[in-house]
C-alpha cells in the first residue's frame, strides 16, 4: 500500500505529475487493500504524509464528468477503507492537480486538524436511517381516523368525473396536512428512542414525499448492536405502516468538517 507513496518524492516524475482524485483521509497504514477500483475505473492507492494518508486514485483531467458508477465507487472505496480504521470522508469530486499539490495544499497545512479529527472519530460510525410511510396504509389510517376526510372521500368518490373539484382539492389538502402532522409526531417518537443511543444526529432537510425520517446517527461502535435492536423493534412495531432503510457502518460523512480556509 505504500508502493505508490514511496515513489512520491518532491521531484515529480510522470506518475506524480498526474491529477489525483481524493476520497478521504486515514492514518498511514489505514489505506484500503490494493486492487480496489475507484472513480474513473482507476486503481485506488494512497499518498502518505507524516503519519496520515489520503486515499487517492489517478484521474485524467479530460474525463472528469461524474457518472453513476463514479458516485457509487467513491462511496464504496470509503466504506471499504472503514474496515481498516477511522476514515475522514471527502465530498465527492475533489481532484488535486498533482500528488505534490495534494501534500502542499491539503495534507501538510491541515495535518494537525486532520489528526485531531481522526482521533475524534475513532470508533464512531455513521448510521443512515430512512423511514417512509407505506402509502396505502397511512392513507387508510387517515380515512379511518379523520371523519371529514372520510366524508369528503365518500362524496368525491360518488361524484362523476370532473365534478367536485373543490371537494377533491379540500380532501387532498386535508390529507397532506394529516401526513405532515403524522410525520412530525412519528419522527419525534423515533428520535426519542434513537437519539439516546447516538453521539450526534444529523437530519436531512427538505423531506421527500411520505418521508417520516431521513437522517444520520453518529454511533460508537460498541453501541451498534443496541442501535440495531432499537431500530428493529421500531420496524417491527411499524411493520406494514412504515418502510425503513438502514445502512452502515459508514464513515462519518454527515459529521466531519474542516475550518474554512481563511479562518485557520
Amino acid at each position: 500500500m505504500s508502493a505508490r507513496a514511496a515513489t512520491a518524492t518532491p521531484t515529480e516524475d510522470s506518475s506524480t505529475a498526474r491529477p489525483v482524485y481524493v476520497y478521504g483521509v486515514v492514518r498511514a497504514g489505514g489505506l484500503p487493500s490494493r486492487g480496489l477500483t475507484g472513480v474513473d475505473g482507476a486503481e485506488v492507492g494512497g499518498v502518505e504524509h507524516e503519519g496520515i494518508a489520503a486515499i487517492t486514485s489517478p484521474i485524467s483531467v479530460k474525463h472528469v464528468r461524474a457518472r453513476r458508477r463514479d458516485l457509487l465507487a467513491h462511496s464504496e472505496v470509503l466504506t471499504k477503507a472503514l474496515e481498516h480504521g477511522t476514515v475522514l470522508p471527502l465530498q465527492f469530486g475533489i481532484v488535486f492537480e498533482t500528488e505534490k499539490a495534494l501534500r502542499a495544499g491539503f495534507l501538510e497545512p491541515r495535518k494537525p486538524e486532520l489528526e485531531k479529527l481522526l482521533r475524534d472519530f475513532d470508533g464512531r460510525v455513521e448510521l443512515r436511517v430512512t423511514a417512509f410511510y407505506v402509502e396505502e396504509a397511512i392513507l387508510a389510517e387517515i380515512v379511518e381516523q379523520n371523519g371529514r376526510v372520510a366524508r369528503l372521500r365518500a362524496a368525491t368518490r360518488s361524484a362523476p368525473g370532473g365534478v367536485g373539484y373543490g371537494a377533491r382539492l379540500e380532501l387532498g389538502e386535508l390529507v397532506a396536512a394529516e401526513l405532515r402532522a403524522r410525520a412530525r409526531n412519528d419522527a419525534r417518537a423515533l428520535l426519542e428512542q434513537l437519539r439516546p443511543l447516538a453521539m450526534a444526529v444529523d437530519l436531512d432537510e427538505e423531506p421527500l414525499e411520505h418521508q417520516v425520517l431521513r437522517g444520520s446517527f453518529l454511533v460508537a461502535r460498541e453501541r451498534l448492536e443496541k442501535f440495531d435492536e432499537a431500530l428493529d423493534e421500531i420496524a417491527k412495531r411499524q411493520a406494514g405502516r412504515m418502510q425503513f432503510k438502514y445502512v452502515g457502518p459508514l464513515p462519518p460523512h454527515s459529521f466531519v468538517s474542516l475550518e474554512p480556509e481563511g479562518r485557520r
Binding site: 472528469v64 464528468r65 461524474a66 457518472r67 453513476r68 458516485l71 457509487l72 467513491h74 462511496s75 464504496e76 475522514l88 470522508p89 471527502l90 465530498q91 465527492f92 469530486g93 475533489i94 481532484v95 492537480e97 495544499g105 491539503f106 443512515r128 407505506v134 402509502e135 396505502e136 396504509a137 392513507l139 387508510a140 389510517e141 387517515i142 380515512v143 379511518e144 371523519g147 372520510a150 366524508r151 372521500r153 368518490r157 377533491r168 382539492l169 380532501l171 387532498g172 397532506a176 401526513l179 423531506p207 421527500l208 414525499e209 411520505h210 428493529d232 406494514g240 405502516r241 418502510q243 425503513f244 438502514y246 445502512v247 457502518p249 459508514l250 460523512h253 454527515s254 466531519v256 480556509e261
Partner: protein
C-alpha cells in the same frame, strides 16, 4: 425491509453494509463530507437535477389532487362502511393489503433509471 434469518432479535430490519441506490449515495457524498476550497472539482452535470427531483415539493394543487385520487382509489371495505355511515366506533383498520402502493420505491427506481444513461 429484508427479513434476516439469523440473530437473536426479531430482525425485521437488517442493516445494509453500504448504500445500494444512487439516491442514497447522492444524499451522502454530494453535499456531505470534508470540503476543500482549493481544488479542481469534478463536474456533476445531471446529478444536481436528481437531488432536486428527489426533493418533492409537498404543497401544490397537483399534489393535493393526487392525494385525493389516492385516497379515493383505496379499497377499504371495513373503513368504507364506517366512513359512509359515520360509525367509526368499532371499525377495523388494517384490512387492506399494504405494500401495493410502493410509491417510494418506484420513485427511487425512476431516479436510478434517469442516471443510467450517464
Amino acid at each position: 425491509m429484508a427479513i434476516a434469518t439469523h440473530g437473536t432479535a426479531s430482525n425485521y430490519l437488517q442493516r445494509a453494509p453500504s448504500p445500494s441506490g444512487l439516491v442514497d449515495v447522492v444524499d451522502l457524498i454530494l453535499d456531505k463530507g470534508l470540503v476543500l476550497d482549493a481544488y479542481i472539482r469534478i463536474s456533476v452535470i445531471g446529478i444536481e437535477l436528481i437531488t432536486i427531483d428527489a426533493r418533492i415539493v409537498i404543497a401544490s394543487i397537483d399534489t393535493y389532487l393526487r392525494f385525493a385520487e389516492a385516497v379515493n382509489r383505496l379499497d377499504l371495505t371495513q373503513t368504507e362502511v364506517a366512513g359512509l355511515a359515520e360509525l367509526r366506533e368499532g371499525s377495523k383498520g388494517g384490512s387492506f393489503e399494504p405494500g401495493g402502493g410502493d410509491k417510494e420505491k418506484g420513485m427511487y427506481e425512476g431516479l436510478k433509471e434517469k442516471v443510467k444513461g450517464d
